[in-house]
């Protein structure tokens, strides 16, 4: 057993808390978690459900409040002003400075904004933190019209939130289709149709030019096409960036995010960074160097805990996966389905006649190696696709075994037969007869 260190973690989101929990499991180190946002860990992904009153704030806390003292994880509610990595000291806004032996930076993101005229008017905001949520509750109280700028995941969540309070939503998307940097055009069209079925005015090729207000409050916006839209709220959801402003003087190297190597070590000894705020200095195939996803934050937390507890471990995430929900349509993805097909790739897209379900498969033209799947409205087993991707299975194999991967509840209508039949029609050369192996 190594000697007892003081491990300080800045940030109590999924990354920081996963690190803290795993360090506790594997060691007796003293652990302190600092957060300026909340007293306890809550699930950021559930912010929308608090707004829609599906849950209360306390429901979003994955652990009861006694959990932290029972597991000897000290929680400090304060904002970090600066980090002095020479003296291994952290200056806080309110409290006395904290000395650390090892530091983990897990500060997440901040919402992006651009220099739009009027962006500081009351009623204009992003959505990332609990404080943003409180602000949004008061900003949208009793209003009738809202505009959302930016066609991504937070934008569609915000639309759903506003609609739950019967607020009319105009959704401005700069690109030609919805979430176009991720979704292929078929899926984008499917989601567009669904969003519109909820009576959202979804406008493409629409860019915000100016926000207009009176008495300090937003009253309308003007697009670059000179369309004026009356509104009492503007949601800015044009992406997020690493939350690293407080590190400017720390001596820790940053670019867009905190720069880390494969062991999640920063440029300064005994300082690590994990989660949204990280920018990798090394490449991973099919992955961006800044990954702002729940799952990667969690994995990094597990990895850094291993390293700190003496088992130096590389951050080497397995095959890519992600999920989301667009109003009523669940989305899961395994492997790599790019928004546009690479030259060496071939694909097959199936959509259910009612437009609430779809599957999109991609494989390599020459080797037939399966590359990834997008699935909408049909749940698929992560474990199956993770294994098949690691085993580099062919598209032929995937189609043969598609039934095994289904994770829908009992009695749900199954579509594999239809999917396979359509696939055989389109790719007679790859034609599949189904094999059903028991799991």
């Amino acid at each position: 057993m190594s000697k007892n260190h003081h491990i300080v973690i800045i940030g109590n989101g999924i990354s920081g808390i996963t690190a803290a929990r795993h360090i506790r499991k594997h060691s007796k180190h003293t652990i302190t978690v600092i957060s300026g946002e909340s007293d306890h860990f809550y699930s950021r992904t559930a912010l929308m459900y608090i707004y829609m009153a599906h849950m209360k704030y306390e429901h979003t806390k994955p652990y009861e409040d006694w959990f932290w003292s029972k597991n000897k994880i000290n929680l400090v509610r304060d904002i970090v002003d600066t980090v002095d990595s020479d003296k291994k000291s952290i200056r806080l806004k309110a409290g006395t400075p904290i000395q650390y032996d090892k530091l983990i930076i897990a500060t997440g993101s901040v919402s992006n904004t651009f220099d739009w005229p009027g962006k500081d008017l009351a009623g204009v905001q992003g959505l990332y933190s609990l404080q943003d949520l409180d602000l949004m509750v008061s900003n949208t109280n009793g209003i009738k019209h809202a505009v959302i700028v930016g066609g991504g995941l937070i934008g569609v969540e915000m639309a759903e939130m506003l609609l739950s309070k019967k607020i009319h939503v105009t959704f401005l998307v700069r690109e030609n289709s919805f979430w176009s940097n991720v979704l292929p055009k078929e899926e984008a069209a499917l989601i567009t149709k669904h969003i519109r079925s909820h009576h959202v005015d979804l406008l493409f090729r629409s860019e915000l030019k100016e926000i207009i207000g009176s008495n300090g409050k937003v009253t309308s916006i003007v697009t670059k096409n000179e369309d004026k839209i009356e509104c009492e709220f503007v949601g800015l959801t044009v992406g997020v960036s690493p939350n690293i402003a407080f590190l400017k003087e720390s001596g820790i190297n940053t670019k867009r995010g905190v720069l880390v190597n494969i062991f999640l070590e920063t440029s300064v000894a005994d300082v690590y960074a994990i989660g949204d705020c990280v920018e990798r200095t090394y490449e991973l195939p099919d992955r961006k160097n800044i990954e702002q996803v729940w799952y990667t934050g969690r994995m990094m937390g597990e990895v850094v805990a291993q390293t700190i507890c003496g088992n130096k471990t590389e951050y080497a995430p397995g095959p890519w996966f992600n999920s989301a929900k667009f109003f009523d349509i669940e989305y899961q993805t395994y492997g790599m389905v790019r928004n546009t097909l690479a030259d060496a790739e071939d694909d097959f897209y199936w959509e259910h006649e009612r437009g609430m379900k779809a599957i999109h498969l991609v494989w390599n033209k020459d080797s037939k190696e399966f590359r990834g799947i997008n699935t909408f409205g049909i749940r698929m087993r992560h474990e199956c696709f993770d294994r098949w991707l690691r085993e580099k299975r062919t598209i032929h194999f995937i189609m043969e075994h598609l039934k095994e991967a289904n994770f829908d509840p009992e009695f749900f209508i199954r579509h594999e037969d239809e999917v396979v039949a359509k696939f055989n029609q389109k790719f007679p050369a790859l034609s599949v007869t189904e094999k059903i192996n028991s799991l």
């Binding site: 992904t45 009153a53 471990t313 989301a324 669940e330 899961q332 992560h382 994770f407």
Partner: protein, 588 residues
């Protein structure tokens, strides 16, 4: 659409208010005919007639006044009888004196003479209560003790009206004495209450079809009904009051029962009982709120089939078939009710009733036992306890339909789980001991089982568990502690099913790789208070004895993480698997 909803709400509230108004609406006129019809013993009839002379001339405008008059009259008759028949100090001394060598029947005959009605009664009742003293010298303390028992219970039991008889008579006399609009037009009022509530309820629910199918939980925690606001508290209070009247004071709710007399007559040929009213209300709640559930979850075939199943079992098995059996002069029997939830299944009265009914009765007895020892373990092994709790059971049926809007109110803390385990298993033990005592009495005729009186035990169980816990708390607390309070903390059958589910079953809820985002929807909407997220976020199967398999955790999961599955037992309790980084094997 909004207009239709509002019209529905107005109709429902109107029907409901009238239903409550009807509670107070009748007048009551006692007649000699009613007394003669309801009180069988001619002597008691006459006594009652004498004591109710002034009441007979009067019309009572409220049920509270009328019932209080009846209470008063019964008490007067009893006092009169005690005065007439009680054994006094002088007689006690005489008995002790005459029986000082040996005490036997002849002593009683000489003390209580001459032969007249009063003395004959005294001899008989002393013989019944003090027969065990015969054959030895009389002891004054023992004789006094017997006399005391006679004066306290014996007289009222034999020549007066004891508590049990009083309770039944109060109900039947009140019902028969009721006069006024409801008695004259029961069907009209049935339509104006039940009818309007049904139509209003449906009009309120049906417009939800317009919404895009999917999870519809918007605003639940801002809702005064669904988040224990004033409306929830009022609803709970109303339900608690309803159950208290139903179980303990049915004489006050006769107007409601009169309204459903015509329906009861057409179904089973008899006037309605309070439990006919209850069964009808119960079934209608499951049907109407079942339709709401079908619309609410119309994107999930699992939820729809499950809801149709509880609607069917309630309507057919719990309501219609027993009524038809009565019409055919067969014993009332609910083919889906299982001991120990059906706690009186082994009561002597029930067993005798079945045994007296030939082949069908014996089949029913065998069926009931087969459900306990074959159906429960076999079905739980293959499907989990959900086959019963959320597909068949009546309590479960009400919880999943009428109770669905309150499912999020269950307590998810570790502490609640600890309390739950102690409590539900304690009730299971209680029910088994109580039933063992009852069967012991059935076979041996002795009411003393080890150190308790089996009659006492069954009445305590019936009042505290059967009526108090299952009814008053179980349903009355829906808007306060969620819709499965009884199933979670009290149901002995759920405990039995749960033990098998925990230790010998193929059923589990599986989690999907690493897809959980810890949002908490699953835990929040678990009616059994299971912290589903605790397991899901570490990639562990959920194997919990309390899980009723309603499948709502899976339905509300925004990431498709949870699935109810029956698979090979191997690996059911497997290590948590959270798919993520290569080369990390996570310790649980």
């Amino acid at each position: 659409m909004k207009a239709i909803k509002i019209i529905g709400l107005v109709l429902f509230i109107g029907g409901f208010l009238l239903f409550n108004g009807i509670f107070f609406l009748s007048s009551y006129q006692l007649t000699p005919e009613i007394i003669r019809q309801k009180i069988e013993d001619p002597k008691k009839q006459e006594l009652f007639l004498v004591k109710s002379k002034t009441a007979l001339t009067k019309e009572y405008s409220s049920n509270f006044e009328f019932v209080s008059m009846l209470d008063h009259t019964f008490a007067e008759v009893n006092q009169n009888q005690i005065k007439t028949f009680s054994i006094d100090e002088k007689e006690i001394n005489k008995i002790t004196d005459k029986g000082k060598t040996t005490f036997d029947k002849s002593v009683l005959e000489s003390v209580f003479s001459p032969d007249n009605e009063i003395n004959l009664f005294k001899r008989k009742v002393f013989n019944d209560f003090g027969g065990h003293l015969f054959g030895q010298p009389a002891n004054i303390e023992q004789v006094k003790e017997v006399a005391k028992k006679i004066n306290e219970y014996g007289i009222v039991n034999k020549v007066g009206f004891d508590r049990y008889v009083t309770k039944n008579l109060k109900y039947s006399i009140t019902k028969a004495s009721s006069t006024g609009p409801i008695k004259n037009q029961p069907l009209l009022f049935f339509f104006l209450t039940f009818g309007l509530c049904i139509i209003g309820g449906l009009l309120y629910i049906l417009p939800k079809l317009e919404l895009v199918p999917g999870i519809k939980n918007d605003g639940i925690f801002n809702n005064v009904m669904k988040n224990t606001g004033w409306l929830g508290i009022m609803t709970g209070t109303w339900l608690i009051a309803f159950y208290v009247f139903l179980y303990f004071y049915p004489e006050y709710m006769t107007n409601w029962i009169i309204m459903v007399d015509p329906l009861s007559l057409s179904l089973n040929g008899n006037e309605a009982s309070r439990f006919f009213l209850y069964g009808l209300l119960y079934t209608l709640c499951i049907l109407i709120m079942g339709i709401r559930m079908l619309i609410h979850y119309r994107h999930s075939r699992y939820q729809m089939l499950r809801t149709l199943s509880v609607m069917f079992f309630q309507t057919a098995f719990a309501f219609l078939i027993p009524e038809i059996l009565i019409r055919l002069n067969q014993p009332y029997f609910d083919f889906k009710n299982i001991w120990p939830l059906d706690y009186d299944f082994f009561f002597d009265s029930e067993i005798n009733k079945l045994l007296a009914n030939g082949t069908l009765g014996i089949f029913m007895l065998g069926w009931g036992i087969a459900l306990i020892i074959i159906a429960v373990p076999v079905f739980v092994y293959f499907f989990g306890k959900r086959w019963y709790c959320s597909w068949v059971c009546g309590c479960g049926g009400l919880a999943e339909t009428l109770g669905d809007p309150y499912r999020q109110l269950s307590n998810k803390t570790l502490k609640a789980w600890k309390v739950e385990r102690w409590m539900v298993h304690a009730v299971l033990v209680f029910s088994v001991v109580m039933t063992a005592a009852v069967l012991y009495t059935y076979w041996t005729g002795s009411s003393w089982f080890i150190f308790v009186d089996s009659y006492q035990l069954r009445s305590v169980y019936g009042a505290w568990i059967g009526a108090g816990f299952a009814g008053i708390v179980g349903t009355g607390f829906y808007p306060i502690m969620g819709n499965r309070v009884w199933c979670r903390f009290g149901c002995p059958l759920a405990a039995y099913l749960g033990l098998i589910q925990r230790f010998k079953s193929r059923f589990r809820i599986t989690t999907n790789g690493g897809q959980c985002i810890s949002c908490g929807n699953c835990s929040t909407y678990c009616e059994m208070g299971i912290d589903v997220r605790w397991y899901a976020q570490r990639g562990q199967n959920i194997v919990r004895s309390s899980c009723v398999g309603c499948g709502v955790c899976s339905s509300v999961c925004p990431r498709g993480v949870l699935n109810l599955e029956g698979k090979d037992e191997d690996g059911r309790f497997g290590q948590p698997i959270l798919i993520g980084n290569n080369n990390i094997k996570l310790k649980p």
